[in-house]
Symmetry: C2
Subunit: 392 residues, 2 copies
């Protein structure tokens, strides 16, 4: 039994408090920067556009020449090559507005007859003219240090002619699966008591999805010395995730090893499934010990490893994809635990996958998302509207 259970949010707070964000950076071509966090302010060294541009296809004019023009009282201007009083010049959307012109008459407000253009509308100065720097002004800080770049941000960088930028390096995460029952796929048939390793693989793929780079360690058997060696050889990573061996049984050495090598922040947390999660810090490196039971493991990944990775990587807390649904059946939960209930979405209803314990990996695969029940609530009733956090 766990002597102490740390409240979920408190455990997360204590864990994140110990994590410092990465300062290291690298320079990349902007094409490679989708999803990366910029590590510099971008100050525009030029105006965009760097010339006055037409906002419409039409005719550049001096607005004063169109005074009194209307549908029934067109003003005739000469179609010219140089701007002067009484002259207009053809322009296209985005093309320069010639010096001397101060407005653009839309095509539909004009009619061309040889080298004369009839203008059917009086126009104000600056109308349909994009001024220099209307998009970006020279000297403006256009993207701030710490922003997570989207394709539209990268397009802005391109509009300034920028080719490469400084971004924070991605957090490196070492993943250590432990358990004497674990076998790598593809080596041999399973014997009695053996299972294929899945938690390390799953952690590896989630960390990559969330913006980290990974190093998946070989399976380590339940031996404190070997666990210690594996941790020791991975302290060059920014975070260590250990799977398995986190409970309080005879073979559960991981929390003890973490405590011996560094500091155990929590062991036994108020999440369900996921209670045997342990959190620690070893020589400044955060350590997430995810329970071997795969459903408990995934909850620990989402609830602790993901925010830890984000803090390390200067990444923002992107909100989850959430859909609301009506609960199809009553779901029980234990007070004192933040409870993650696997549900399937069926026609706007959230159907709990109730059959399954924390050891049933396939139940996560069958689920579309989690309904998260707070600690102070004892279950939810059928018919209640709930938010389903989709499992990504």
């Amino acid at each position: 039994m766990f002597r102490k259970r740390t409240n979920a949010e408190e455990a997360k707070r204590l864990f994140l408090k110990e994590i410092g964000s990465i300062h290291g950076t690298e320079i990349l071509r902007i094409e490679e920067c989708d999803g990366r966090v910029i590590a510099e302010d971008i100050v525009a060294d030029t105006d965009v556009p760097h010339y006055r541009r037409a906002a419409m296809d039409g005719f550049a004019v001096r607005a004063s020449d169109t005074l009194g023009a209307g549908r029934d009282a067109p003003v005739a201007l000469k179609l010219g090559k140089n701007m002067e009083k009484g002259v207009c010049m053809r322009v296209h959307t985005g093309s320069p507005v010639p010096e001397g012109a101060d407005a653009v008459v839309m095509l539909e407000d004009a009619a061309v007859h040889g080298d004369t253009v009839e203008i059917f509308a009086q126009i104000h100065p600056f109308r349909n003219v994009g001024e220099i720097g209307e998009d970006i002004e020279k000297g403006e800080t256009i993207i701030k240090n710490g922003h997570k770049l989207r394709p539209c941000d990268i397009a802005v960088l391109a509009s300034l002619g920028i080719d490469s930028i400084r971004v924070f390096r991605r957090p490196a995460v070492a993943i250590i699966p432990t358990g004497e029952e674990l076998v790598h796929r593809g080596i041999r048939e399973l014997k009695m008591g053996e299972v294929y390793e899945t938690n390390g693989l799953m952690a590896d793929l989630y960390i990559k999805k969330w913006g980290g780079i990974t190093k998946l360690h070989d399976i380590v058997t339940d031996d404190p010395e070997k666990i210690k060696d594996a941790i020791d050889s991975n302290l060059d990573a920014d975070m260590i995730i250990i799977s398995g061996g986190t409970s309080v049984g005879k073979r559960d050495y991981v929390p003890g090893v973490v405590k011996e090598m560094g500091k155990l922040i929590a062991h036994g947390v108020g999440i369900s499934p996921g209670k045997p999660t342990a959190l620690g810090i070893i020589r400044g490196k955060p350590v997430v010990c995810m329970p071997g039971y795969p459903v408990a493991g995934i909850v620990a990944l989402f609830y602790f490893a993901r925010p830890g990775l984000r803090k390390l990587g200067n990444l923002p807390d992107d909100p989850d994809r959430v859909i609301s649904a009506v609960l199809a059946e009553k779901i029980p939960s234990r007070t004192g635990y933040k409870t993650f209930v696997r549900v399937k979405i069926d026609n706007g209803r959230a159907v709990p996958l109730a059959v399954s314990g924390a050891g049933i990996l396939s139940s996560v695969s069958k689920a579309d998302g989690f309904v998260i029940i707070p600690e102070n609530i004892e279950g939810l009733n059928a018919g209640e509207e709930v938010d389903v956090v989709l499992i990504e």
Copy 2:
């Protein structure tokens, strides 16, 4: 002026109707399959677990031996190596439950004294025993053809010992930026009337983010023959995105070329910004003509190219990330247009970035998301609660 404006949803429906999903597949190692769509049913060829496993650390017993046991009336069993009446055996979470045992007593309900174990609780048969196939039953279809794989699904595949699977190939999208004003970055300084190409780059990055693979064509000038050649040389792609030249000006050749080479589904759609969007099909290949104005272009990408790509790639309609906010200011919109209003989130308020027209790329970069106003509504008032669709 556009002679005809197609309603946004109608245009999307007509466009998607013409798109067939890709049948082509490839075989990949499961480690590479996050976000990919599986192209086969996975039927379990084994039970998981393939043995009865202990769900707890403790002692395997015959439940009948614990009859009447309690805190004050322990039952003494012999700690043995072979299961028989009156004997118990040590087990760990996940380890095999020996034949003859039918339940596992938790550690905390037992006390060991030499080779005797006191049991403090009466236990029912099957208690704390995971049956063979409790996670996955042999013969069960565990993942269905067409499912988009998440790391937790890949872990399930791993639990079955599966190494590689068949997935749909990713849609190949050719992107053709057009416009005589466009210049590639890094070649030379801009002259009067020139801008750097950004829409093609942005489309390229979004298509990759959404699960496609891309081929970014060189810039094509506003010449119908050259546009035709560029399309012609890219008809091996699954979709073509052309940027620019979609309006109704003298230099806007793209919709005409699409019409000449195939079928123009819509030109002029009820989205704002994005009205000059054109949609077509050329020899079975969907063509999205995004307006050159970058904000209009991004709306066309999100509203037409993304669902087109998903249909091609057998990808599900993942819901957007949405947050609700209170509108800080009134926003106008034109009835008849689905209007995409750029907003910044500030302290739970959605602040419209009202300054900016469709040509102001930086306004998208400054925005956190769009508030989407339906066609039949004339603007929204300050104080209204709105959904903000985050720009990814």
